[in-house]
């Protein structure tokens, strides 16, 4: 029987009740830190969405009505920086914090104090980044990619945005170290690696990617800093440097970065679909190996972001082939998820809807990605709205849908309450309509010739832009709707049992709902039947 302390509040080993400051600012508890990350990510998602509403408001009709071109460029750069580093990545770290110890039978993360610091760096980093909006010259306006020489034309924001990025990178690296140390050292006896939940596996692999590439980003932006302030010429041709070298260094980080943002999503979907199919994940070992293959390949494809930069022919051919190859393990995963559902006994509660939508819509994003890999075609797609459509399908209907699905899936475990499933389904269907109105027409705009990062366009592009903007406005209410649904459940939701979902398997479902503040303070005795993948004959 999994040993847990039955006390639901936080006296326990502290011997005294924790005050608010001690509990939330000096936390060493993986559940509270997970909650902090998720709450922060939610706020940042609203900030990032607000920036995108400014963008889509300007792009709703031709002509420049709402903002100046320079402010528009600040909005596009900040929208991406906030969403990537402030919303998606912290949300995944929050889910890791909450669920990895519970899934592997550990009492907490390996390094609880470092865990706290990893979180608390973020509000300071983002305060610094967001305040650049109020500096003379405004916020960074050279895209989240910050290519020199343009990024070096920025004013005071250059130093502050680089400093903020360094802080975010340190936070991510420390979080990744914590995940690896926890997974490799603190699994309960009997929790072999190949019996571990897939979410823990995908996070283990993601953590290695983070440690490998966040320092590379730090190097790239530090070279920007020294080029601007200390008279180096890393990226200045007149001084003997090379602007394209920045792109190589940035994308050596940047490509694994996008896999950092999707591998935990793959893990989440691999948890949800088996639960609501009442059947174990199909091809568990293939799924683990496919994830590792994707992670390995993600290091050797970076220059597909640079096909038009003027690389030699041999480089272009190599990167085309390597990029196309990634579709193989990714396809394997899609097929395995569908086969998990095949011959299952399916029900369609809210988390399952998000997971199914992930499989279908992320696949669309994968298709546009494969098309982008074909260099002769990419010479037309590059830097157009076709690319914007691609990455929003994989990041919004991909990563974000997985995060939303995970929250709806594990909410009863965290809070002990079940939300109103009808409202959850309403949130889901509303999102499906508006997210596709928002992003699908952007494929057409790119193919028709509309470039990226422009605040205004010729009248022939107006029709699809208006459709897209309507999608954006509809999407903007969804975080508030979700907050309403979930917070309401805490007052009026039905009490949730330990195993909140009939088909759910895994150690997290053996502890009470809500999960006590401290769980697995003594390691659980693991019965293979409690696990999702206890049977290793496959």
């Amino acid at each position: 029987m999994a040993a847990t302390t039955p006390v639901a509040d936080h006296h326990d080993a502290h011997g005294h009740k924790q005050g608010f400051i001690e509990r939330w600012f000096f936390s060493t508890n993986h559940k509270d830190i997970g909650t902090l990350y998720l709450g922060f990510a939610f706020l940042m998602a609203i900030v990032g969405a607000a920036f995108s509403v400014v963008i889509r408001a300007e792009l709703a009709v031709p002509g420049l009505q709402a903002v100046s071109p320079h402010f528009f460029n600040q909005m596009t750069a900040m929208h991406a920086l906030v969403m990537i580093f402030g919303a998606i990545m912290p949300a995944f770290v929050g889910l890791a914090n909450w669920m990895i110890p519970l899934q592997i039978g550990a009492p907490d993360m390996a390094l609880p104090r470092m865990n706290n610091w990893s979180f608390w760096i973020l509000p300071f980093a983002f305060a610094m980044l967001l305040m650049t909006l109020f500096l003379p010259g405004g916020a960074p306006a050279a895209g989240w990619t910050m290519y020199p020489p343009l990024s070096l034309q920025g004013g005071a924001n250059v130093a502050f945005s680089i400093f903020a990025i360094h802080m975010m990178g340190i936070s991510s690296i420390m979080g990744a170290i914590n995940v690896i140390a926890t997974v490799l050292n603190m699994r309960a006896p009997g929790m072999d690696l190949l019996k571990m939940p897939i979410f823990a596996w995908t996070w283990l692999i993601t953590a290695f990617l983070l440690i490998a590439v966040m320092p590379v980003l730090a190097g790239a932006v530090t070279m920007l800093l020294t080029d601007k302030f200390f008279a180096t010429s890393f990226f200045n041709a007149a001084g003997g440097g090379d602007p394209v070298m920045y792109q190589h260094i940035f994308w050596f980080f940047g490509h694994p970065e996008v896999y950092i943002m999707i591998l935990p999503a793959f893990g989440i979907v691999s948890e949800i679909i088996p639960t609501f199919s009442r059947k174990p994940l199909f091809g568990y070992q293939a799924m683990v190996y496919a994830t590792a293959a994707i992670a390995f390949l993600s290091f050797i494809v970076w220059a597909h972001h640079m096909f038009t930069a003027g690389m030699p022919l041999g480089g272009e051919i190599y990167f085309m082939y390597a990029t196309m190859l990634i579709s193989i393990p990714t396809g394997v995963k899609i097929f395995n998820w569908i086969t998990t559902m095949w011959r299952g006994s399916l029900t369609f509660e809210t988390p399952m809807l998000w997971a199914i939508a992930f499989v279908l819509l992320f696949t669309i994003g994968g298709f546009s990605g494969l098309m982008l890999a074909i260099v002769p075609a990419d010479f037309q797609y590059h830097d157009t709205y076709f690319v914007v459509a691609h990455f929003h399908y994989v990041l919004v209907t991909g990563a974000l849908f997985a995060i939303i699905g995970a929250i709806y899936y594990w909410w009863p475990k965290w809070t002990g309450r079940m939300y109103n499933d009808a409202w959850g389904k309403f949130h889901f269907w509303w999102t499906i309509v508006f997210v596709n109105l928002l992003f699908f027409p952007q494929h057409f705009l790119g193919l028709a010739g509309m470039p990226r990062r422009i605040p205004d366009y010729n009248v022939v592009f107006a029709d699809w832009n208006l459709v897209s903007s309507i999608g954006a406005f509809g999407m903007f209410i969804t975080p508030f709707l979700m907050a309403f649904i979930l917070l309401r459940s805490k007052k009026t939701g039905a009490v949730a049992p330990a195993r909140a979902w009939e088909g759910a398997r895994g150690l997290e479902w053996t502890v009470p709902s809500p999960a006590p503040h401290h769980t697995f303070t003594t390691p659980p005795v693991i019965r293979d039947s409690d696990l999702a993948h206890g049977d290793v004959s496959h």
């Binding site: 020489p149 343009l150 038009t308 022919l313 086969t339 199914i356 590059h382 990226r452 010729n458």
Partner: protein, 270 residues
């Protein structure tokens, strides 16, 4: 010449155009092959998902087959078949890519320089060079905040004062660079874009089959007026081109043998 160009973007446009060069047709063909293969795979995936959702619902009595959890043959099948599809895409893509890099034996070389926020064009060896800036009418509209009217301003943000004049049926080599930040020179009808990087010279080529006016835009974020430095190419017959070039060489400033679409009157003196 004044007729609507088939290469111009259209309202509600869904697909890429074929364009007017070998390379634009290559891009279109590569795009369509990839698109059809993706549609085929997508149909298979979506239909399988749809069948599963309908056939295996608990509400209609489906019982889970908890033993159906792995199948090595299936894993091999759905690894090998996609690899074959990738090879089918990669082989023509490779030959098309090699063709794009073959700038040998060109008849004319044009140097393109990106500036914040305009293009410079130079006919190498011909002593003709000029700056090409977005037309003033577009600039007036975008500064005013008014909505452009498609009837009076159909080429809003897609017109310039000095278009690039080139002959048809000629292999033209472009050498592309920039003076300040990275820009990118893109005319969809020609089939490609190449980044204009300060300190580097990139190369590309085009052979235009059909006379006409072809429009494009800067395709790399270059600052506040990135959206306001378009590209216009006037493709004319060899004779018209030779005449125009000779006339420019001797100091005449005629922008093009073709009428500009938004003929902008000279600004009033003073």
């Amino acid at each position: 010449m004044a007729a609507a160009q088939s290469a111009d973007p259209q309202r509600w446009q869904l697909n890429m155009g074929r364009g007017v060069t070998h390379l634009s047709n290559n891009a279109y063909d590569a795009h369509m092959l990839a698109l059809w293969i993706c549609v085929a795979i997508g149909l298979a995936v979506f239909i399988a998902m749809g069948v599963a959702i309908v056939k295996f619902r608990k509400s209609t009595g489906a019982v889970a087959d908890t033993g159906f959890v792995h199948n090595t043959r299936l894993e091999i099948l759905w690894t090998v078949i996609p690899v074959i599809l990738l090879v089918i895409m990669a082989i023509p893509a490779t030959s098309k890519l090699i063709a794009m890099y073959d700038t040998r034996d060109s008849d004319l070389t044009i140097k393109v320089t990106g500036y914040q926020w305009m293009w410079g064009y130079e006919y190498l060896g011909q002593d003709v060079r000029f700056i090409s800036r977005m037309d003033r009418r577009s600039d007036e509209i975008r500064q005013s905040g008014q909505r452009p009217d498609p009837a009076t301003d159909p080429y809003y943000l897609l017109e310039v004062d000095n278009p690039l004049v080139v002959p048809i049926d000629t292999k033209i080599r472009f050498v592309i660079t920039a003076d300040d930040v990275i820009h990118s020179w893109w005319v969809p009808a020609l089939g490609w874009k190449q980044d204009a990087v300060p300190g580097i010279v990139n190369e590309a080529w085009a052979d235009i089959s059909t006379p006409g006016i072809y429009r494009g835009q800067c395709a790399e974020l270059c600052g506040k007026d990135h959206a306001f430095m378009p590209i216009v190419v006037h493709a004319v017959t060899q004779d018209e081109f030779d005449q125009w070039l000779a006339s420019r060489r001797s100091g005449n400033n005629d922008p093009s043998p073709l009428a500009l679409t938004n003929a902008v009157p000279a600004p009033p003196a003073g």
